[in-house]
Symmetry: C2
Subunit: 343 residues, 2 copies
């Protein structure tokens, strides 16, 4: 075996790996509308479209139980999958949860995890319909699949943006990343001095952004009430810049973002300073915000311009103009997409 | 924490744990027809029913890569999920695959795994539409979700059996379990003497039953052509006896099985003898056969009595008569359901 070619997964990265492995995929069913390459897969069933998305969280890679309570983990698991359903402009209906766990976890611990799952199911009005529970040799791994429905006239892909569409993002960015820095710092201090209590009360917002993110279903319902269908949409899980790159790639466009339009909460801003971090970099590359990034036709701007949770941050232009950020002092610089690297 | 109650997952077992954790589940959507407790969950979408099932395989628990080639593993993963779709009398349409893997696995190794996945997708005409690939701290874990569609007049639950319905099983039983014994023995011999080649050519059928099981979609299509809708159905993943217990529990009935009707392949029979195992016990409690167990109205018997792959093994009777096996010498003994224990 030693003379065989060996390519490390880390050489390709997560997205490269998925592209590489899925390039041979063929479809056998005319009902399959969309496969790999968006926030969710799509199947036509009668007059409706079913969207399916799946996300796996692994202990020691995606979460650290020393500061992530099991109830929050359960909630987050559901929320991050609902966020992908939202990004298709669909309404979530069902989730399944698969667990693999070592004997370190008691039934009581799992009850707490399930409490969080059920809290999220109630919050998003989604039904927990099945799953699988099995042993693992070490640690906890959870895989969630979420199903939602929408219709042909509402479904929103990454690929639908057009030149001059305005680029919008919900809520604020960078908070979850800064929350993680706070939690990591307190963990290190606790390991050095186990009598110390974690000092989190100064950072309630950013810690909650990390521990209990919310899917932006409220915005999906509001856009529907306003009669707006975004031309393209994606959820912000890997950092704003990385998601802008996805929209540009699938829509074959470039984009311009204004630095001074990036929505950043005051606590994110101040805490970033405490860590000597640039808050804009946190917003662009931090990840785990689970906000929605979408494009709108310019004529829809009037309908959302006063919405407190929807921020216009830029616009789409032709691919040859690139993916750029206009800085506060008016310079135009190339946008960098760093994203998350798990490998 | 030390004075808090701690219940081990192994005290409840897999089914007990699922029952325990799901007892608080509430539904928010009228479209949810069936949640936890069958081979798949069910959602109403227009005039169709969507079935969803998920299954997770963990290295060191469910498979051993020292004798399970990655291509076979990929194939098996898809087949076992399709088997659950089949057990709802539904047609599989889409699968998603989530992987968590350590850096032990190269891109080339994953290509081989995906080859197996795509072979199975082609065999079952199911579309590979998405998933998730992430790092793990150790080993390989794979979670597959399969989606299928059917209609109200065709869907088959565990709960629909009636008294006097005949009990049928497809194919033959116990082979996958015996195949596993052969593979385990060869592994032990190899560990003792690494120069030895595994001697598997004497056991092609049982080894294939373990390494490359097939979902019984052919029987689903044939039943449809015969105009037959089973009154209840389940797939045989944990052993025939355990599955009979599930049908009885959900249909609130008992069942009688004839020992001399258990379909056992000649190679399974002979290899069991080699291991000093009772072939009937292998058939009843072996697991991983992925055959279909179903009940039919007596009037449907004529239509299937000459089908080479459908075997009538007993009948349903009232719950007070219990779950029994009629032995070759005419004795009636209580059926024991041992099933698989992963915890």
């Amino acid at each position: 075996m030693s003379d065989e070619k060996r390519t490390e997964v880390s050489d390709l990265g997560e997205f490269g790996l998925i592209d590489h492995l899925s390039k041979e995929v063929r479809f056998y069913n005319s009902s399959t509308v969309k496969g790999i390459g968006d926030d969710a897969a799509v199947m036509q069933i009668g007059d409706e479209l079913l969207v399916t998305t799946t996300d796996t969280l692994v202990e020691g890679i995606h979460f650290d139980l020393s500061y992530m309570p099991l109830k929050h983990l359960g909630y987050k698991l559901i929320a991050v999958n609902i966020s992908d359903v939202a990004a298709m402009n669909a309404i979530p209906k069902q989730v399944t949860v698969s667990l693999a766990l070592s004997n370190r976890f008691s039934v009581e611990a799992l009850e707490v995890l399930y409490e969080g799952i059920q809290m999220a199911c109630e919050a998003y009005k989604v039904d927990f319909v099945g799953g699988d529970t099995t042993a693992s040799r070490s640690g906890l791994m959870i895989s969630v699949t979420a199903l939602g429905t929408t219709t042909e006239d509402k479904i929103t892909y990454r690929s639908g943006a057009k030149e001059n569409d305005i680029l919008c993002v919900t809520g604020d960015l960078g908070g979850a990343f800064i929350g993680l820095q706070v939690l990591e710092r307190e963990k290190q201090e606790f390991l050095g001095n186990p009598d110390m209590q974690p000092k989190l009360e100064k950072y309630p917002y950013v810690v909650e952004r990390q521990l209990k993110p919310e899917a932006r279903m409220n915005v999906i319902h509001e856009l529907s009430e306003l009669g707006i269908v975004p031309t393209s949409m994606i959820d912000v899980s890997d950092g704003l810049a990385s998601e802008i790159f996805h929209l540009c790639k699938h829509s074959e466009l470039g984009a311009a973002v204004y630095e001074d339009k990036l929505p950043i909460d005051k606590q994110t801003y101040e805490t970033a300073a405490e860590f000597s971090m640039d808050p804009n970099t946190c917003a662009l590359n931090g990840g785990e915000d689970y906000e929605l990034l979408f494009t709108l036709k310019t004529e829809d701007f009037e309908k959302i311009k006063n919405h407190p949770e929807i921020h216009t941050i830029g616009y789409m232009h032709s691919a040859d103009k690139g993916k750029v950020m206009v800085t506060r002092n008016g310079n135009t610089i190339a946008l960098q997409a760093q994203g998350w690297k798990h490998f």
